[in-house]
Symmetry: C2
Subunit: 331 residues, 2 copies
């Protein structure tokens, strides 16, 4: 097949019901489904240039060579692409994040969705979004969701090769155009990486099994709330799922406590805004201290004003639900 | 039997492995055992005066008439005492707390341990500590532990009448003389009472069953760490149990979040002091935002200095492990 330079941009996504527990750690197969929304503008631009002269893949991220741990995952994705394309060529890659590293948003989802999109095109493959989703997933589980825009569901699948562990779009970004406010809160000194945190939960949390059962139920509740555009029901399930995930983490021994004081400040502020003052806003929290707030457009200004006033919130980022990964150039 | 005025002082206690889940809500029978230490000096002084002229019991607490909810529990305890003493006399009662109400320490444990001790003497009964423990328990579950000093274990028992749901002393207050620092942190505006919180967890937390299983294991681990005077092992189980209880609370729908920002400030500070700086200190947290720290005597000054510097910590109280309930006068 034709080999060519290709570039793609993919956005980050924020899970409304979380991905926290794997049935396969090598190719990222989850124990439960998850639902996310894709964020506009924040993500990763990746350029892939196949090269007959190269003896191995090489990648720069934000103009710095990628470390060996990251390169192992990139090589796994590119190896699949070469197999599908029946190619022996390696590639030079460059990626630039439009998500600040300390943003509180995981950039691995956008990075591997962009890589899968650009690399498959560079090697002459024609993959649909579902196939791209499975390819991106082998680099980072949540990357399976960043292939799509809008509201996205990742089905865990049952096959051991992961071919049926793919994401699908539930609603596009226009169908329930909520706003997103990220309240960035600095990490403590000893952050446990989420890959390790997930393994610790699986092996030592007494709450891990009921957590996975909860996820299956929450995905149904979340999808129903989304279909009804029922913000109160969405808040109930999304906040409940995030708290249950952090509860599962805290119950490991020793307890994984990702929160910082300001995390609780934002949790209580969002609840007060919604329950006492009638604003449509809800929070969710990934494996870190930062808090992501979803709100109706009309409520975004007051949400920003309240969260910006909380001690320990170092930055706010406003965005909206956006489209999925896409090619940005092809030569 | 002879009726006489009697007074008793009983201290509060802090659970190292928590009491959070009942098999009987009427007479406070727990689903799992728990271990606590009794605190010196902080508690309740209660005076009981049987009176042939009274037509019902009457009680002043801190010079204010006790509300009907509290009076119901007091009447339950006094009714048992009258039955045992074969008496028809009611009593006038006065209680004074030496625990500031906003101290972050539950005064119901000391209140009902003092009531049981004073009332049984006033009505001429001779109850041993185990029997007093069962009597105090009918007013407030954790009061069963405040009858004893030092390190105390409350066995849940199996009988439906609760006669075998009693506390025993494991070590006296001299056998491992740790210090206690209470970091008081103000409540948020919407505190859920612990009695209600416990019921919400029982009915809606997906983690409630494994939480109770965890308690049974933690009591064994805690007792073993205590027997070995192994502070590191004690910290592991006590912090783990407190985090697991709060995790169980957070996983209710809507999530019960008792913590305030400063709660996390203290959690992280205590862990840093122990894990990075080698100080023997550990935290535990009841159904509220305040944090109780146990430490070796030599570490108390640095613990106080660190915790006092945390924003949102409004007061520190230092004390030690102390003796149990005792009569203070008898006429």
């Amino acid at each position: 097949m034709t080999h060519r330079r290709a570039a793609a941009f993919a956005p980050v996504n924020i899970a409304l019901t979380k991905y926290w527990g794997k049935r396969d750690h090598e190719i990222n197969l989850p124990l439960a489904p998850s639902i996310s929304v894709t964020l506009a503008e924040l993500g990763t631009l990746t350029i892939v240039q196949p090269d007959t002269q190269m003896r191995e893949n090489a990648m720069m991220v934000n103009d710095v060579p990628l470390d060996s741990r990251g390169m192992t995952k990139v090589n796994r994705v590119l190896s699949r692409v070469r197999d599908l394309a029946d190619s022996t060529q390696y590639a030079g890659l460059r990626a630039v994040n439009t998500v600040p590293t300390a943003q509180g948003l995981a950039s691995s989802a956008s990075a591997f969705a962009a890589l899968a999109t650009a690399a498959s095109h560079a090697y002459g493959l024609t993959l649909d979004k579902i196939e791209l989703s499975a390819l991106a997933r082998t680099g980072s589980g949540s990357a399976s969701r960043s292939v799509h825009g809008g509201w996205v569901k990742w089905n865990p699948g049952q096959r051991t090769d992961g071919a049926d562990s793919t994401a699908e779009q539930l609603l596009d970004e226009e169908q329930w155009p909520l706003k997103i406010v990220v309240a960035h809160i600095g990490e403590g000194p000893k952050k446990t990486p989420s890959t390790l945190g997930m393994k610790l939960c699986e092996s030592t949390s007494p709450f891990f099994e009921p957590w996975i059962e909860t996820c299956w139920k929450d995905v149904e509740r979340c999808e129903a709330a989304m279909r009804e555009r029922d913000f109160a029901a969405l808040a109930h399930v999304v906040e409940g799922n995030a708290l249950a995930m952090h509860a599962t983490m805290m119950a490991t021994r020793p307890g994984l406590v990702y929160w910082q004081p300001a995390t609780l400040g934002v949790i209580h502020a969002v609840r007060t805004l919604r329950e006492d003052l009638g604003h449509s806003c809800l929070f969710t929290i990934d494996a870190g201290p930062s808090v992501v707030v979803l709100c109706e457009a009309a409520d975004a200004p007051v949400v920003c004003a309240q969260l910006g006033a909380i001690a320990g919130v170092t930055r706010l980022t406003q965005t909206r639900i956006g489209p999925g990964a896409q090619l940005t150039e092809a030569s």
